[in-house]
Amino acid sequence: MKKKYFINANIIDPKNSINENGGLIINEEGKIEAIGKKVNTNNLPSREKLIDLKGKYIFPGLVDMRVFVGEPGYEYKENFRTLSEAALAGGVTSVVTMPNTNPVIDDVSIVDFLKRRGRDKSKINIFPCASLTENLEGKNMTEFGLLQSKGIIAFTDGLKTIQNTRLMTRIMNSAFDLDSLIMQHAEDYELSKNGMMNSGIIATKLGLSGIPAVAEKIIIERDLTLLETIKCRYHISQLSSSRSVQTIRERKDKVKFTSGVSINNLSLNENDIGDFRTFLKLSPPLRTEEDRLSLVQAVKDEIIDVIVSDHKPEDEESKRLTFSQAATGASGIETLLSLCLELYHNGSVKLETIVKTLTSNPAKILKINKGNLSIGNDADFCIVDIDKPWIVKKENLISKSKNTAIEGKKLQGKVTNTFVNGVELFKL
């Protein structure tokens, strides 16, 4: 591989506190050789071909902590190859995949298969999660230690919640012993039973059962209470309401935990469901504008640590149904960064904070050396034209499933190039 020289870029690398105009040199092995304002035309060999980015941005390759891939079992929705193509188009170079597959990722034998498929078919870094409990049943915990030794970096039941408090205690104890990361989808099932959207005026109007905000808050409060005595690595996968935000603000000083939010909950609210738009049936559900604003404020205040795409590819057949029958979730990995940039363009959140929630923060939680541009590291990064206007059209999406929640939305800012190990794998 030839050495690459990028100059005149706005580089944001939160881990190394870089936020400046400068250049980037990638060496022959695809590693970062030099970065920052020191890299400019004055000190680069004139015979080399310099790539002038003309003020475009360079971010570390994004780390998306919540991605569903259909493999194994639902390859018709998304496989590793299509996922990685879609991710690259969105500047994402590392993904954490959920274990909600068929079979479920709950056993070391499946992890081997997964790692092999991920390596052979994917062009990006795949970090698989295993489930917390066998077959996601919420009964017997999985072998955290053995699974970790095979390369599992975190444990979650993905779409499901550990309801049983005693089991949760035991899971947390094991996680503490083995230094495992637990990611909880917070939802009290009895309270959310049959629920399809946020509980409130829109649900009443549409005649749909609601999922109350307290269903999330109660699980968060329970887990944070357990965390007072069991100090394991604990992450709340997604927050959706102002009441949950209030809870984590109050507890942040007392116990150690991290939390995430889906870009959907930061960009949309329940009104967007309109006349039964099943593509906006999400989990956790879209809530009120007040909830959305509270989540945005929490990202701004760095109370919420990460933003995820919650990429959940669903084929059209699963969505062309009545609202109650339709599948939950939206495809979103390709639009994650552009939607996040909306928060920057409208003045809600600083650009550096946004990049942090998408790169160094998730990497730190996961304890992986990704999401940064440190010298000597794999050159995983994306080049972004943060002002470029474009319109989301499902036919242009690369993901195998086209269930975007933001069809027709006008966005500002687009990834133009994505590199993994110094190799350009996506170009607009």
Partner: protein, 313 residues
């Protein structure tokens, strides 16, 4: 709201999915048209042929006695060819989706599809996929527009007006599409609406729909002109909403002592089917001086004839 009939001759909507979508002119047009059919239905020769050559398909995914037979009779009296689909035997049971069924039926060129479905919004989905008019005969807990229209017609028939009346709707509001449609319609026609239910059966944010809410039935029915009772929908209740039926009857069942609080000439309504002795005292339900439950059924046919006629045009 002043209720004046502008001379509308055509309905503004292609489909009848809910009262929410109708303008006041649409409502008045339907009610006016239905008035004429009341007379026809009471005469000896009940059949006319204004829908001759038209095909009406009744697609009922939920069991129904009165609504289905009412729609069937309404179509037949207007001369339409009426087909009622028995979903129990159809491809739906074999895994076909609602949209596929819709496409199949659409290929047979119906002029009108009447649908009842257990899922809210099913009629909206159907209406997006077929070329003909879709009439909602009840979708989940969202709307049941023809029931609200027949209730309004019954009230007008007895009280000669709706504007200014005080109307109590009592019972399982949470699961009730009838309540939702009636709230929209009665509000539109200028009534004052009181909603009475235990908190467990009260939908979230219902007070934002322009109604007064009560958990005490006596306060809720006070000085009302109409007391509309709803059926306890036990089949939709997934967990304990109520302690027991007998306690419910004690606090929310319509009994003579609770009716005392309403106006002396108050009328009792119920969309049926009734749970006698649970939500309504059986003698009150049959009291011909107070109960208009049978009249509701009778006028239901007229309202559905009006809807079929107007939406077929």
């Amino acid at each position: 709201m002043a209720v004046k009939l502008n001379k509308a001759i055509k309905i503004s909507q292609k489909h009848l999915l809910g009262i929410q979508d109708l303008s006041i002119n649409d409502v008045l047009l339907i009610l006016d048209e239905a008035q004429a059919f009341i007379k026809l239905n009471r005469s000896k020769n009940k059949k006319i042929d204004i829908l001759r050559g038209k095909t009406q398909i009744n697609l009922f995914f939920e069991p129904s006695t009165r609504t289905q037979s009412s729609f069937e009779l309404a179509g037949k009296r207007l001369g339409a060819d009426v087909m009622s689909m028995n979903i129990g035997n159809s491809a739906i049971k074999k895994g076909e989706t609602l949209i596929d069924t819709a496409m199949t039926l659409n290929a047979m060129h119906p002029d009108i599809i009447v649908i009842r479905h257990q899922d809210s919004g099913a009629c909206n989905l159907l209406s997006q996929k077929v070329n003909c008019a879709v009439l909602n005969a009840g979708d989940g807990r969202r709307e049941h527009p023809t029931q609200a229209l027949l209730d309004a017609l019954t009230i007008i028939d007895r009280k000669k007006k709706i504007e200014g009346l005080k109307i109590a709707i009592c019972g399982d509001i949470l699961h009730s599409r009838v309540a939702r449609s009636n709230i929209y319609l009665l509000n539109m026609l200028g009534a004052e609406v009181n909603i009475i239910a235990p908190t467990n059966l009260m939908p979230k944010a219902i007070d934002k729909f322009g109604v007064n809410t009560f958990t005490d039935m006596k306060k809720g029915v006070k000085d009302c002109d109409i007391v509309m009772m709803l059926r306890l929908q036990n089949e939709r209740m997934t967990s304990s909403f109520l302690a027991s039926n007998r306690e419910y009857y004690e606090y929310y069942g319509l009994t003579p002592d609770k009716l005392e609080y309403a106006k002396d000439d108050a009328l009792i309504m119920h969309p049926g089917p009734m749970n006698r002795g649970i939500e309504i005292d059986t003698k009150l339900a049959d009291d011909i001086n107070k109960s208009v439950i049978k009249e509701q059924v009778e006028l239901g046919v007229a309202v559905r004839m009006a809807c079929l006629k107007l939406f077929c045009e």
